[in-house]
């Protein structure tokens, strides 16, 4: 549904988006990740036809956004960053206006407004002027405006920003639900959100694509994805490390903490580390070392993220999917 080909954007001489290509199909929820100022919102503004492209092309449902903007714009709903809305209108009036611009007037318009307001829990504030709304409600209002016409494509710039935990949860459910038959792009800074709702992830850093794959693939890149943590009791740290590092399966043992007789160790496997935790348990049992915890660490997204978008270009991991 969305096709972006070598999209570039310069502000003056500065390249802010430096050649990004990707596509989103129906049934996909694509997560946009990247540090502040990476160019996520700029890319979304180009997809939605608000900013002209410097180079490249973008099409939505087969309509080129620059050559056929009005047709393309019919196909999506857009929630801009900061959720703008006409401050001097009432919630209901604003939604009616949005419906009318989308060609929904009369009964169809009314039904659409009611449906969207219901989904976003706005029924109680329909007559309230927008400039008196709280931030979360304003965000929900702008989201309601985006889904009003039940578009096949949704582009959401930080949709859960400013929502309370319950609303965040509900918004994620809603996005996941709608993702079944729509093509959705969501940008976010909340990494758990990516695992919860996205079927695919893109990471942008300084205008270039540094990752494009599933959340699972992203996790697999976690630096400590396969290490095992053990907490031992009544054993001296130096002694344990020396003993453990002699074992062929263990590449490295590292003391993470030692207090009140509890010793926390991180064990790095040599090679792939199949049955690593199991082997360690057997070995600890053989030595009759007492342990109160032993588990394989699952990779942490924030570590992968930090790795891929390291501020110092030199130690950034190479390889773009």
């Amino acid at each position: 549904m969305i096709e972006a080909t070598s999209v570039k954007k310069y502000f003056g001489d500065r390249p802010v988006v430096a050649g990004i290509s990707f596509s989103v199909a129906r049934g996909e929820v694509l997560g946009f990740l990247g540090p502040n100022g990476a160019g996520k919102s700029t890319t979304m503004r180009m997809i939605t036809g608000f900013l002209p492209l410097s180079e490249g092309s973008i099409s939505i449902g087969g309509c080129d956004i620059e050559e056929n903007p009005v047709e393309a714009k019919r196909l999506f709903g857009y929630l801009p960053e900061n959720a703008p809305a006409y401050q001097d209108m009432s919630v209901g009036g604003f939604l009616q206006f949005s419906a009318a611009i989308r060609g929904l007037s009369g009964r169809a318009g009314k039904a659409a407004v009611e449906r969207a307001a219901g989904l976003c829990h706005l029924e109680g504030v329909m007559r309230q002027p927008i400039d008196t709304l709280s931030k979360g409600y304003r965000h929900r209002l702008c989201f309601a405006q985006a889904i009003l016409h039940d578009p096949p494509v949704l582009i959401l710039d930080e949709p859960t920003d400013g929502l309370d935990p319950n609303q965040k949860h509900e918004m994620r459910e809603l996005i996941r639900e709608m993702g079944r038959d729509k093509a959705i792009i969501v940008s976010t800074h909340i990494l758990e959100e990516v695992e919860a709702i996205c079927t695919r992830v893109i990471i942008i850093d300084r205008g270039t694509l540094v990752f494009n794959g599933t959340p699972r693939e992203l996790l697999a890149r976690a630096p400590h994805g396969d290490r095992v943590l053990v907490i031992l009791r009544g054993i001296d740290g130096e002694e344990a490390v020396a003993a453990l590092e002699k074992l062929p399966q263990i590449r490295r043992a590292e003391i993470l903490g030692e207090e009140e007789g509890r010793l926390t160790l991180a064990l790095q496997p040599t090679g792939k580390g199949e049955d690593f935790a199991w082997n360690i348990k057997k070995m600890l049992d053989e030595r009759r070392w007492e342990f109160c915890e032993l588990h394989t660490e699952s990779g942490r997204l924030d570590e992968v993220f930090r790795d891929l978008t390291a501020p110092d270009g030199a130690d950034r991991k190479e390889g773009v999917a």
Partner: protein, 244 residues
């Protein structure tokens, strides 16, 4: 076409829910009355016509019309709703035209509300109908031109004050360009009469005076409409190219 109507409805709605509209109308009517009856020397001249009524509009509008036009785009930029508007399925000309027509309609309402002044004059004397009709038509066209110019300056900035000041200056320039200080200057520079005529012909005042006197000249109408169209076209181009 439908989109234009939707935009007009929204614009008028937000004008009339804010105090701007009412403050504007009150000030406009008070000033019009004041200029007509006090400064215009209506009672002194002992002649019941509307010369002193229409005479002041080019000056009055310089201050008042930019107050309506300054918010048009600057406010959209400031609130970020420009991003919303231009990602909806609506073309730039539709948006520009919709906003302009809404403002023009509002100014038309303001002009219409000056009727009591006209009735008063009719009651006191027996003025010709011709100058009243062309005077109103001229005032309406003049308001449209000023509005388009202030909409244009509004498209450049997110700051309403900047927009107001620049459009006031531009409108003032449009009046002064046919006045002696400017034409004298041109004369001193040795400009040929062609340029002088052009300069005078470009003046809003020149074209308005004709209509105010009851002269119906197609050229005046063409002048006002082209000025409006030019300003609207520039507005559209600016909005197409300068969004971020």
């Amino acid at each position: 076409m439908k989109n234009i109507l939707t935009i007009i409805r929204r614009e008028l709605g937000s004008l009339f829910t804010s105090p701007v509209a009412y403050v504007f109308l009150v000030i406009f009517l008070v000033l019009t009355g004041f200029f007509t009856f006090m400064i215009g020397g209506f009672f002194v001249r002992n002649e019941a016509d509307l010369t002193s009524f229409f005479f002041w509009f080019p000056w009055l509008f310089i201050l008042l019309v930019p107050a309506v036009g300054m918010r048009q785009w600057a406010e959209e930029r400031r609130q970020g709703t420009l991003e919303l508007l231009f990602t909806m399925p609506i073309s730039v000309p539709e948006a520009v035209l919709g906003k302009f027509l809404a403002g023009w309609l509002f100014l038309g309402i303001a002009l219409f509300l000056t009727c009591p002044i006209v009735f008063t004059v009719c009651y006191l004397g027996d003025p010709d109908a011709g100058p009243i009709v062309t005077g109103y038509a001229g005032s309406f066209l003049l308001a449209g031109s000023y509005l388009a110019v202030s909409g244009m300056t509004s498209a450049f900035t997110r700051n309403q004050i900047v927009s107001f000041i620049t459009s006031t200056v531009l409108c003032l320039l449009l009046v002064l360009i046919g006045f002696p200080p400017v034409t004298d200057l041109l004369l001193k520079w040795g400009a040929p009469t062609g340029v002088l005529d052009l300069s005078a012909g470009l003046s809003v005042f020149y074209h308005f005076t004709g209509m105010q006197r009851g002269v119906f000249d197609l050229r005046d109408i063409v002048y006002f409409l082209s000025l409006t169209a030019l300003a609207l076209m520039i507005t559209g181009t600016v909005l197409k190219n300068r969004r971020g």
